[in-house]
């Protein structure tokens, strides 16, 4: 349904000169999305997600590479693609001075359809904002804005739906609802490409691509990505988290250490490097957790705990970034 091969895009630098300060947004991106798939692009701000969306919606031309959407070439058949896809940009892009209903009506007409015709498709979403249909879009809450934007992007029954960070700036409850809607849309056979900076949303996709600085780090099902995490991960917890982070990092056996919620996620080095560390296995020395605990207690963390834990997508992402 969507296929990219070696897409490259470089933006000219601020000085305007060709060689100065060029920004590589996309660095040879290739992947395929199947029909009816819910595909997630996961990456931090500035990873190239929006550039990728704009390339696929024909809003920008890539410097190199080929891409097709619904079998239409993004260069030659741009009008065909524009006629049939639904696109929800990252920034709220509806008319703030028009009411909810006026916005929806407008986009329905622009795409040559009516609200009535495709009401079934948007019913679940639109019903939630219908009580506010006479309210101006600018006065809606963040979650309702996104629901309206999704309704507007869906009103013409697109074959592919592009959602650029639809849940950024939306409260947790609305985010959950939003993802439930995407699952429903997938059942309608609509192919969905969605991007998000939130790692916890990655598990809700069929497949995900981890993207960073214009490069794809990994493409797989979320489960497989988590399963591919090498070694054992430990959660370290203590009341003084800030000092704990510094102390764990100063521990000689620590390979990686990141704050994760109210605890720290820690991996240990393969080979012993500190004098007090016994030799260990390839996946981190088994003696290290105990050594760390003692190390922490000696440094005035009486309530410190070190426990085994399962990796999340975020852990995998950080791991992939390190390598």
């Amino acid at each position: 349904m969507i296929s990219l091969s070696n897409i490259k895009k470089t933006y000219p630098g601020g000085t305007g000169r060709k060689t100065d300060g060029q920004v590589k947004a996309l660095n040879g991106i290739s992947f395929n999305v199947d029909k009816g798939e819910l595909f997630g692009l996961i990456g931090p701000d500035g990873a190239g997600k929006t550039s990728l969306f704009r390339t696929l919606t024909t809003l920008i031309l890539p410097d190199e590479g080929e891409a097709t959407v619904d079998n239409y070439d993004i260069r030659k058949d741009y009008q065909q693609i524009r006629n049939r896809v639904g696109y929800m940009p990252g920034r709220f892009s509806l008319y703030q001075d028009l009411t909810v209903e006026e916005n929806l009506n407008f986009f329905a007409t622009v795409f040559g359809t009516t609200i009535k015709e495709n009401y079934d498709l948007i019913k679940d979403i639109y019903q939630q904002i219908e009580p506010f249909k006479d309210r101006r879009a600018g006065k809606l809450s963040g979650g309702m804005k996104q629901k309206l934007a999704l309704s507007c992007a869906l009103i013409h029954k697109p074959s592919v739906l592009f959602l650029d960070e639809p849940t950024t700036g939306v409260d947790v409850v609305s985010r959950k609802e939003f993802w439930a809607m995407l699952k429903k849309l997938r059942q309608e056979g609509i192919t969905i490409l969605v991007s998000t900076p939130y790692m916890d949303e990655a598990n809700l996709c069929d497949r995900i691509a981890l993207i960073q600085k214009g490069d794809i780090l990994s493409i797989d099902k979320p489960d497989n990505i988590v399963r591919s995490f090498p070694g054992q991960l430990y959660a370290v917890h203590a009341s003084d988290t800030h000092r704990l982070l510094q102390d764990v990092r100063s521990f000689p056996g620590t390979a990686t250490c990141f704050a994760f919620g109210d605890s720290l996620h820690v991996t240990f080095k393969d080979a012993p490097s500190g004098s007090n560390a016994p030799s260990g296995a390839a996946t981190g020395s088994p003696g290290e957790p105990q050594a760390l605990l003692q190390y922490l207690q000696a440094r005035n963390h009486p309530d410190a705990t070190v426990e085994k834990t399962g990796p999340t997508i975020e852990d995998c992402f950080i791991h992939l970034l390190k390598n």
Binding site: L59, R82, V85, L94, F106, T109, V110
Partner: protein, 368 residues
């Protein structure tokens, strides 16, 4: 078609929901009419005048020499008949005519008194007053000088006649000026934010990823502005008829036709600014700074263009309001028909088409 209508309807909603801007759009012409009611005076140099000498004697030759040696006047050519003078006035070729009657010399030698006829185009009352004052003073000087040299008292009396606007009302001059200025500014400013606003709000991204064609976007953006401007035009015409007692002398239909052409030209300028601008603010500044000054200076409404150095005169030719000002003056004040303004109309039409074509070409179907 339905798409286009919906889009146009949407644009109207934008306009009507933005009360402050709406107030400004309709308040501006009214404020201008009131403000420019106060006369503005200015020095006049090199006014084109005609001199007709039916007498051809030493005294008239001397007097004509004196007039032509002054820097105030630029004697165009000797127009020999009343019809020629009349035609020159209508075309705007001359500002004033000085006519020495055939019996000038005989009157002067026999009675010591003679009259010359001074006719001025008073559709610009300030200019007319100023130049007739100059001529009266030159003739007065001449009288005193000859008295001193010959000892004989001479009395040459200029008989001044004001054409088109005998009461020297200010309104006839400033109304066409205000029409040109207001329509130009309102149209360009309104339109200059139209496209760039969608870009800035991000809605352009969605509009581009849709079946909607660029030409439709442009037409939908221009339609409400065109309508508002036409309403403004009628407000100005009605205001000047009711309060300034200035009625359209020529064909109102012709005036409206030419005005719509001028409005379209100004809208196209705004469109071009909007398509090239990065932010609403820069578009607004460009239309205000870039249009306000040239329009004020180079329309010929505050400062006569013929007084300017030639580079400015060439530049003035590029300002659409300059041509519109001529059209309004001729049709509204002098009551002339299409035959008198076809050239200016054609220039406006050309400008309008060129600007619109450039805008359409420069409309970007992609971001960046």
């Amino acid at each position: 078609m339905k798409q286009l209508l919906t889009f146009i309807r949407k644009e109207f909603l934008h306009v009507f929901r933005d009360r402050k801007t709406l107030l400004m759009l309709f308040g501006l012409p009214i404020a201008q009419i009131v403000l420019f009611g106060f006369a503005l005076s200015n020095e006049v140099k090199n006014s084109r005048i005609a001199v007709t000498d039916y007498s051809k004697d030493p005294v008239t030759t001397q007097l004509i020499d004196k007039i032509s040696s002054s820097s105030y006047f630029n004697i165009q050519r000797n127009l020999n008949s009343a019809q020629q003078i009349d035609a020159a006035f209508k075309k705007g070729d001359i500002r004033m005519a000085v006519i020495f009657p055939a019996n000038f010399s005989t009157d002067l030698t026999h009675t010591g008194k003679a009259t010359i006829q001074v006719i001025a185009d008073a559709s610009d009352p300030n200019l007319a007053t100023t130049i007739t004052n100059y001529i009266t003073r030159i003739v007065g000087d001449f009288n005193t000088q000859s008295e001193l040299s010959t000892g004989q008292p001479l009395q040459i009396l200029p008989e001044v006649q004001m054409l088109y606007n005998p009461e020297l009302k200010g309104a006839p001059n400033f109304v066409p000026g205000v029409m040109a200025l207001v329509l130009m500014l309102v149209c360009t400013m309104m339109t200059s934010v139209a496209i760039v606003k969608e870009k800035e709000l991000g809605t352009m991204e969605i509009l581009l990823v849709s079946p909607f064609k660029p030409i439709y976007i442009i037409i939908s953006k221009l339609t409400p502005n065109l309508l508002i401007s036409v309403v403004n035009l009628f407000v100005i015409l009605v205001l000047s008829a009711l309060f300034l007692d200035l009625h359209v002398k020529g064909s109102t239909l012709l005036l409206i036709f030419c005005s719509i052409l001028f409005i379209l030209t100004s809208l196209s300028i705004g469109l071009l600014l909007s398509i090239n601008a990065k932010t609403q603010q820069s578009a607004m500044m460009a239309s205000l700074m870039g249009m306000m000054l040239p329009t004020m200076l180079l329309t010929g409404f505050l400062f006569p263009i013929e007084n300017m150095p030639w580079p400015m005169q060439v530049l003035a030719n590029l300002v659409p309001s300059r041509w519109y000002f001529i059209i309004v003056k001729r049709v509204m004040l002098k009551g002339m028909g299409f035959g008198a303004v076809w050239k200016e109309t054609l220039i406006l039409a050309g400008m309008c088409l060129a600007l619109f074509a450039i805008s359409l070409r420069r409309f970007k179907i992609r971001l960046q």
